[in-house]
Amino acid sequence: MQSFDPIILNLILLVPLAGAVLVAMVPDRAKLPNWIAFLTALFTFLLTLHLPAHFHLHQAGFQFEINRVWIENPSISYHVGVDGLSLWLVVLTGLLAPVGVLASWTAIQSRRKVFYSLFLIQQTAMFGVFVSLDMMLYYAFWELSLVPMAVLIAMYGRKDGPKAALKFFLYTFIPSAPLLVAILWLYARTGSFDFVTLRILLGHGSFSSTAMFWMALAFLVAFAVKVPVFPLHGWIADTYSEAPVALAMVVAGKLGLYSLLRFHVGFFPLQAQAAAPLLIALAVVGILYGACLALVQRDFWRVIAFAALSHFSLVTLAIYGLTLTGWNGAVYQILSLGIVEGALFVLLGALENRYATSQIASFGGLAARLPRAAAYFVIASLTMIGLPLLSSFIGEFAILSSTFTQVSRGWGIAAAVSVILSASYMLWLVQRLFYGPEGALAVKPARDLRFGELVALTPLVVLMFVMGVAPNLWFRSIQTGVHPPAPQFATVQQPVIRSETAGSGRLEGAAVRLHAAPTTNQLAFREVQR
C-alpha cells in the first residue's frame, strides 16, 4: 500500500473527475448515473482513507507531496500535499460525497447526468482546494468550486434558484477578485506561487507593512465571505434554502475556515493578530446573531443556515484567538460540524422529499410515524448542541475553554451563551417537527427512512459517538498540522507575536508556526536564497 503514497493525491483528484466524465457519457437510464456517481464517490472516499492510514505523525511538513512543474513561466507548479491541518478535511470531503449522492438519490429526478457530473467536479475542486500548495493551483480550484455550485443552485433551486445562485455567485466571486490580484502581486514581487516558499518570504519581512496590510485584507475578505463571517453572511440563508441537499452540506464553512487558517493566519500572522480583536468581536456577534435568527425562522433550512452561521462563527473565534488549543478545537469542530450538518441535511431533505414543504409549522408529531428519522434527528441535534460524549462537545469545549482562559473572559462568556441558544433552537425544532400535536401534514402517509438513507446516516451517527469519546484519534494528527513537531527554527528569532495580556500560551501557536520551518521549508528556503 505504501507504493500508492506518491500518487495518492493524483488519484483523489482524478477519480471524481473521471467519474464525472463517465456519468456524462452513459445514457440516463434507470439509476445508472446515480450508481456511477455513488461508486465513484465511495471509491474516492476509500482512497482518502489511505491518507490517515499512512500519515507519519512524527514527520514534519507536508506529506504525500507531489511537486511537478506545470508551466515554466510564470512558474506554476502542480504542487499538492497534506499536513495535519488538511488531512482530515480531505477525508471529510470524501466521506460526505457518497452521503450526498445517497441524499440526492430520489430527490434529484430530472437531468441527473448534469447533476451528478457537476457534483463530482465539485468534489475534485474541493479536494483541490485542500491539497493545493501552489497559490495559482489553489486559486484555480477555489474558482472551480464556485461554478458547479452556482449552476446547480440555479437549476435545482426550490423556489427561486437563479436568484439565489446569482447571490451566491456574486458574494463569493467578487471578493475573490482582490484575492487573485493579491496572489498575482505577490508573484510579481517574489516570482513564486509556492505556498512554502511564500510563507518563508513573507515571514522574513521583505514587504512593507502597507503592502502586507492590503494583501492580508484581500485574503481575509475573500475567505471571510466564504465562511461566512458576520457582516458578510448575506448569501448563506438563501443558498441553504435553495441549494440541493448534497451541495448545501459541502458549501459553507470548511473551505473558508481552512483557508483562513492556512493562508490568512499562515501567511500574515502579524496582520492576523492586528485584526484579531475585530474578528473576535465579529465572530461573537455572528455567534449570537445567528443563534437568535435561528430561533425565529419558519423554514427549517433557514434554521440550519443561521445555526451554521452561529457555529462557523465559533470556529472563526477559535482561529483568531490564536491559541494552539483553539486551533486544534477549530479543526476538530469543522470536522464535527461537517458530519452533523451532513446528517441534518440528509434528514431534513428526506422530510422535505416526503412532505414537499420546509415550513416548520406544517409538521408536528412525526415521531410516531417516522420513528427512525426521529431517533436520528434527535441524536444529530444533540450533537449540534454539544452534548458531552458527542463530537461537537470536544470542539466546543476546546474552543470555549481556550477563549475563556487565554483570550478574554468577556468574549468567552458571551460565546458560551451560544450553547444555551443552540440548545433552544435545536430542541425547539425537534419538538416542532417530531413531537407535539400532529400537524396538518402528518396524516399524509409517508415511509420511514429508506435503506439508502440509513446507509448514509448510520456512519455519520457512529462517527458522532466515536469522535465524542476518542478525540485523540484525530487530535494526534491535527496537532502535527497546528503545531509542527521538531521546531528547528523556533529559536532563531524572537517570537514576532507578543501577547498583550497574561495568557502566555495564547500566541505561542502562531509564533511557532511561523518560525518552525520544517525540513521541507528549509530546503525550499535554501532554494530561494540561491
Binding site: I71, R111, Y139, L144, V147, A150, A177, Y187
Partner: protein, 508 residues
C-alpha cells in the same frame, strides 16, 4: 536596398494569394451548374499549406525581407499560425453551412482567403504603408463578406455600416502615417522608433500616434470605437462573424503591439494610461450592454468588446510580459470565440431564423453534443479554470499587476464576474428542458456535417490545450514577445546612419 525580393519571407501570403486567385479563376471557368463546394476545400487546403509555410519560416534566420517591408520572427509566425488556424476553422464552418445553391459561393471562399492575406501581412509588415495596404486588403474583403447575404435586409445594412465607419477609421490611420512621416521622415517602424524620440515636432508625433490608435482601436472594437460592432455582427452571416470577430482582431492586436512596443516605446507614459482607460471602458460597457441582449449574436458582439478590454489590460504590462500575455490572450480568445460562433451558426441556421436566446432553449436535448460544446465554450469565455479563457485572463491580469495596474486588474476581474451572468444565462437556457413539444418542433435539429465537426473539434481542442497544457503556446508567445522587444537592428546601413545624424542636433 536588397535587390532580391526574398519571397520566402512572405511565403504564406504568397500561397494564400495564389489560392485565392486559383479559386476565383476556377469559379469563373466552371459551369454555373456545378457545385462550388470543392473550391471551399481548395481554399482550406491552401490555408493549411500557408500554415505549414509559416511554421517553416521558423527555420529562417530572423530578420526583414521583401525589400525591407516585412520581417519574419517568432512573433510573426505565432500570429500567422493563429490567423491561418482561424481562417481554416471559418472555411470549414462555411463549407457546411453555406447553402449549396447560394450565389457566388466561389467568391466567398476567395474573399476569405484574400482577407487572410491581409491579416497575415498585417502582422509581419514593418513598413507603415505596407501595413496600410494589408489593413485595406483585410478590411475590404470583410466589408464584402459582411454583405454576402444580400437578399436579406440586415446584411447589406451591416456591410454599409461597417464599410463607412471602417473607411473613416482607416482614413484616420492613413492620416496618422502621413503625420508620422512628416514628423520623422520615415514610415519604417524601427526607424520611427529611433527618430520619434528626437523629432523636432514632438506634438506632431503625439497626434500621429493618436490617429494610428483611433484606426486600430476601431478595428479591434474597443470602446469608445465599438458602436459598429453589434449591428455588424447581427447583420453579417454567422460564419463571417466567426472570422470577423477573431481573425482581423488578432491581426490588429498584433499590429497594435508592434506599433506601441516597437515604434513608440518612448511614448509609453502617454499611451499606457490611454489604453488603461480604453480597457476599463471596453470591459464595462461591453459587459453591461451584453447583459440586456436577447439576440445571441448581439450578445456575443458586446462580449467581444469586453474581451478586447481584457486583452488591452495586458498592455499595462511591462515589455515582453505584456506582449506575451496579449498574444496568448489573442490565441485563447480566438479559439473559443470562433468555436462559439460555429455553434451559433449551426443553431440559428444560415438564414438566421433562430437567432434569439430563447431559440437555444433545450439545445442540450435537441442536439446533446452540440449543446455540451456550446456550454463548454461559454464556460471558457467566463474564464473557469482549466480552460483557455482562464489562462488568457490570468496572464493578461497578471501582466497588468506586474506593471503596477492593480486597479485595472481588479476592475477586470469584477467584470469577468459580471460577464458570467449572461454567459450562464445562455448556458442555463440551453440546458433547460423544452417546455412543450410544439416549441420543440419549431426549432429544427441542427445538421452537423463533417467539415463543421472538424472545425468544432479544432476549436475545442485548442481551447482545452490552452487551458490545461498552455506551456508550448506560452513559450511561443514569450519568445515572440522577445523578438518584438529586441530593439530593431536597422535593416540597411543608411537608415542607421540617418538615425545617428538626426540624433546629433540638440533639441530646441
Amino acid at each position: 536596398m536588397n535587390p532580391t525580393p526574398s519571397i520566402d519571407r512572405i511565403l504564406p501570403e504568397v500561397i494564400l494569394t495564389l489560392t485565392g486567385v486559383a479559386v476565383m479563376l476556377l469559379d469563373a471557368s466552371l459551369k454555373p451548374a456545378w457545385p462550388r463546394r470543392p473550391l471551399g476545400w481548395l481554399a482550406a487546403i491552401g490555408t493549411t499549406l500557408a500554415l505549414w509555410a509559416s511554421l517553416w519560416q521558423l527555420s529562417l534566420p530572423e530578420g526583414a525581407g521583401f525589400f525591407g517591408t516585412v520581417e519574419t520572427t517568432t512573433f510573426t509566425v505565432f500570429f500567422h499560425v493563429l490567423i491561418c488556424g482561424i481562417v481554416l476553422v471559418a472555411l470549414l464552418l462555411s463549407l457546411d453551412t453555406l447553402p449549396p445553391d447560394s450565389h457566388h459561393q466561389g467568391e466567398f471562399y476567395a474573399l476569405v482567403v484574400f482577407g487572410a492575406v491581409g491579416m497575415c501581412l498585417l502582422t509581419s509588415a514593418i513598413e507603415l504603408l505596407v501595413v496600410f495596404i494589408a489593413l485595406e486588403i483585410s478590411s475590404i474583403s470583410t466589408y464584402i463578406l459582411a454583405g454576402y447575404r444580400k437578399q436579406t435586409g440586415r446584411s447589406p445594412e451591416a456591410a454599409i455600416k461597417y464599410f463607412l465607419l471602417g473607411s473613416f477609421a482607416t482614413a484616420f490611420f492613413l492620416y496618422g502615417i502621413a503625420l508620422i512621416f512628416g514628423a520623422t521622415g520615415s514610415t519604417q517602424v524601427y526607424e520611427i522608433a529611433h527618430l520619434a524620440s528626437t523629432a523636432q515636432n514632438h506634438a506632431l508625433v503625439v497626434i500621429a500616434l493618436a490617429m494610428l490608435l483611433v484606426g486600430i482601436l476601431f478595428k479591434v472594437s474597443a470602446a469608445p470605437f465599438h458602436i459598429w460592432t453589434p449591428d455588424v455582427y447581427e447583420g453579417a452571416p454567422s460564419p463571417v462573424v466567426a472570422l470577423l470577430s477573431t481573425g482581423p482582431k488578432a491581426a490588429t492586436f498584433a499590429l497594435l503591439l508592434r506599433i506601441l512596443y516597437e515604434a513608440f516605446p518612448a511614448l509609453h507614459s502617454l499611451w499606457a494610461p490611454l489604453l488603461w482607460v480604453v480597457a476599463v471602458l471596453s470591459m464595462t460597457i461591453g459587459n453591461l450592454a451584453a447583459l440586456r441582449q436577447q439576440n445571441v449574436k448581439r450578445m456575443m458582439a458586446y462580449s467581444s468588446i469586453a474581451h478586447a478590454g481584457y486583452l488591452l489590460a495586458a498592455f499595462a504590462g511591462i515589455g515582453s510580459i505584456g506582449i506575451a500575455a496579449a498574444s496568448f490572450y489573442a490565441a485563447a480568445y480566438a479559439a473559443m470565440n470562433v468555436g462559439i460562433f460555429a455553434v451559433i451558426t449551426l443553431v440559428s441556421g444560415y438564414d438566421e431564423k433562430y437567432p434569439m436566446i430563447d431559440d437555444f432553449r433545450g439545445l442540450v436535448y435537441r442536439a446533446p453534443l452540440l449543446g455540451c460544446v456550446l456550454i463548454f465554450f461559454l464556460i471558457s469565455l467566463i474564464g473557469v479554470p482549466f480552460t483557455g479563457g482562464f489562462f488568457g485572463k490570468f496572464y493578461s491580469f497578471s501582466a497588468a499587476v506586474d506593471g503596477g495596474a492593480l486597479a485595472l486588474a481588479i476592475v477586470g476581474l469584477l467584470n469577468s464576474g459580471l460577464a458570467a451572468a449572461y454567459y450562464l444565462r445562455l448556458a442555463a437556457v440551453a440546458a433547460q428542458r423544452p417546455s412543450d413539444e410544439a416549441n420543440r418542433a419549431a426549432v429544427p435539429k441542427p445538421q452537423v456535417g463533417v467539415a463543421v465537426s472538424a472545425a468544432l473539434l479544432l476549436s475545442v481542442a485548442a481551447t482545452l490545450v490552452l487551458g490545461i497544457v498552455p506551456n508550448g503556446v506560452l513559450r511561443a508567445a514569450q519568445s515572440g514577445a522577445h523578438t518584438l522587444q529586441v530593439p530593431g537592428q536597422p535593416t540597411d546601413p543608411p537608415s542607421a546612419a540617418a538615425a545617428v545624424t538626426v540624433e546629433m542636433p540638440p533639441k530646441p
